[in-house]
């Protein structure tokens, strides 16, 4: 079950998937959330199937009772599923994530958090 994607032979003249493509991620944070899950499953910190079970549950729960004021976001479910599996395995308590996010949310605008990755993940059609 080891991920060996980075050993793939993916050379070749064909351009990357943009020819067929549309945006992979609508916003940079979605790419971050995706990368977090892949990095954790690749290292065996989290089993992919355990994560997937939570993802299915989150999507099913949303679809069973869609919040009226919130459009469906696949990566919102993805992020919550990731938090679920980390909490379940006692690796990261959800309360810790909330506390950290609240602390970040009150940072002054224009702060330099030295952590500004993700912006190069924007794509163009």
């Amino acid at each position: 079950m080891t991920a060996v994607v980075h050993e793939l032979d993916v050379e070749g003249p064909a351009a990357p998937p943009r020819a067929n493509g549309e945006l992979v991620f609508d916003q940079p944070w979605q790419g971050r959330a995706f990368g977090l899950a892949m990095a954790l499953t690749e290292r065996g910190v989290v089993a992919y199937d355990a994560f997937r079970d939570h993802l299915i549950a989150r999507i099913a729960a949303w679809e069973a009772d869609p919040p009226g004021d919130e459009p469906y976001s696949y990566y919102a479910q993805w992020l919550q599923a990731l938090e679920d599996v980390l909490a379940e395995q006692a690796l990261i308590a959800t309360a810790d994530v909330v506390a950290r996010a609240e602390a970040y949310a009150v940072r002054p605008a224009g702060h330099d958090h030295g952590h500004e990755h993700g912006h190069d993940h924007d794509h163009h059609h």
Partner: protein, 197 residues
């Protein structure tokens, strides 16, 4: 069940918070995360699947191996990894048209096709293609005669379906690489056919 994200905290901030905790606790490192994003965004894409299709079109022995054991045959070309462990290949013909969906979430053969497009993850596609596949396919421009047998396959953690589309007419003189350039993601999911050059 955990609660929904707090009002007032956007998901970008929440993702950043989660990442900082993971890095702090040694559960993940930023470089590995970047690596995975880069791989799936720029390297792994439908061109891997297209190479498999072109080889199957031009090499009958490879085609036979592919249909017999999809996972092993795509691994021959170096394509393996998460969500690529159980690849089952279905052949589209003039009389049988297969199309793939994941009704539960978004199971998809990532090493072959990259990340799923947004419509594949969308509830409308996931429910409608099961109930009315001909209408959905027609919306994609794939009009199928009444004599064509349409089959919908539900991918799961056990099986990731991959379509071997029909080789279009007028491609007899093309090389394997030229053929690969014709093959589209949509054809390998089964919502479309490979267009003639």
């Amino acid at each position: 069940m955990t609660s929904s994200p707090q009002p007032g905290i956007d998901l970008a901030t929440r993702t950043e918070a989660l990442e900082s905790l993971l890095v702090e606790r040694g559960l993940a490192d930023a470089k590995t995360i970047e690596t995975f994003i880069g791989i799936y965004e720029t390297q792994v894409g439908p061109m891997n699947g297209a190479k498999v299709v072109a080889k199957a079109w031009t090499d009958p022995e490879y085609r036979a191996r592919l249909l017999d054991d999809g996972t092993a045959a795509v691994a021959e070309l170096g394509f393996k990894g998460p969500q690529g462990e159980h690849v089952v290949v279905l052949v589209n013909t003039p009389t049988t048209h297969n199309v793939v969906v994941c009704t539960l979430c978004s199971c998809y053969p990532w090493p072959l096709l990259g990340l799923p497009p947004s419509w594949y993850k969308d509830g409308a596609y996931r429910s409608r293609v099961v109930k009315e596949p001909r209408s959905v396919l027609a919306e994609w421009g794939t009009e199928l005669g009444a004599d064509v047998d349409v089959r919908v396959h539900d991918s799961s953690s056990e099986v990731r379906y991959f379509i071997l589309p029909e080789r279009p007419a007028g491609t007899e003189s093309l090389s394997e690489a030229e053929l690969a350039a014709l093959v589209t993601r949509d054809a390998m999911v089964g919502v479309a056919k490979v267009p003639a050059p």
